[in-house]
Symmetry: C2
Subunit: 176 residues, 2 copies
Amino acid sequence: MKTVNAQAKKLKLARDEFVAQWGALGTQWGINRTMAQIHALLMTAPQPMTTDEVMEDLEISRGNAHTNLKELVAWGLIRVVVKKGERREYFEAEKDVWQIFTIVARERKRREIEPALALLAKCAEESSGIETPEGKAFNNQIRALEDFVGFASKMSDRISSMKYGFAVQMAAKLLG
Amino acid sequence: MKTVNAQAKKLKLARDEFVAQWGALGTQWGINRTMAQIHALLMTAPQPMTTDEVMEDLEISRGNAHTNLKELVAWGLIRVVVKKGERREYFEAEKDVWQIFTIVARERKRREIEPALALLAKCAEESSGIETPEGKAFNNQIRALEDFVGFASKMSDRISSMKYGFAVQMAAKLLG
DNA sequence: TTGAGTTTTCAGTATTAAATGAAAACCGTG
DNA sequence: CACGGTTTTCATTTAATACTGAAAACTCAA
């Protein structure tokens, strides 16, 4: 009993550390702290959790918990689980790392790559008719960027749609 | 003369749009707006520019211009150029898209991947001795994340150190 | 249809990040 | 070594973002 208890304490400590630090990292990633914390919490939760449990665990308000849980659901990083005979919602995280990766990659592509591509296409178009040397140089630089970002976008799609095993196999060649 | 002038105007318009929007995109990427704007400005500048020119062009303060120019230099995305007989510094951007990509990849790795890896290693270590089912599950999840992030980190290195031509060639297989 | 349990919204507040501008430090030249 | 031009720093201000908490809306069972 004593050891089990001591181990449970140790686990709680490690998990709290993970959640707190993962949250801090989130900010570097351009994700808000609470969202990253909830994600970390649920990724390492043995059971699905309710909003209230999340609130209590992270000591945050209902509104904050709610907003970020919904945002995580929108990303697809967590799911709503309904337990029969229970009214309130439970949340559980996607735990498969390859799934997590593809979800994050898809979302980043949508939010970071696609708008960039749209802008580059627009600017390339707008500057295509300009015949001055500066105009041509501008157009060339924009096109180079556009080509590259478009290429990166396609790559991202391809990799994301691979089976994990295949991606690893391919990577093995590169790393070998 | 008239047409050249009209074209110059058109170019200025397109370039301003690019700079402004690239700045807005920067925020999505977790890069501050000014830094992204300066980068866009210099990437499309026909000549190296001084701090004062950047300030004037973007209508920002000296402190802001200075801080972000230095930050871009630290990243390696722009360089200081000294003109002989001139005292003040000029800045020019790296224009090669593959170079830009590898620089950004390296920086992101440093700021996003490595701290995550360190955290995961620490948490894996701290939880390795816990023999409860919850402890084992936690440890397994952390290890899965650690393995994956470590793998991603290695991949990033490999790709970044490739010659552009080789990367394209490899990609061609994937996209074909 | 009422009311307890639960989710959602949002105006107000707090926190964090970025920008300003002026002063200080720096640096080459006369 | 003093002076004008230039860069750097940093306390203060401003802007952007996140969080709170309470009210409103929703939902289901009695």
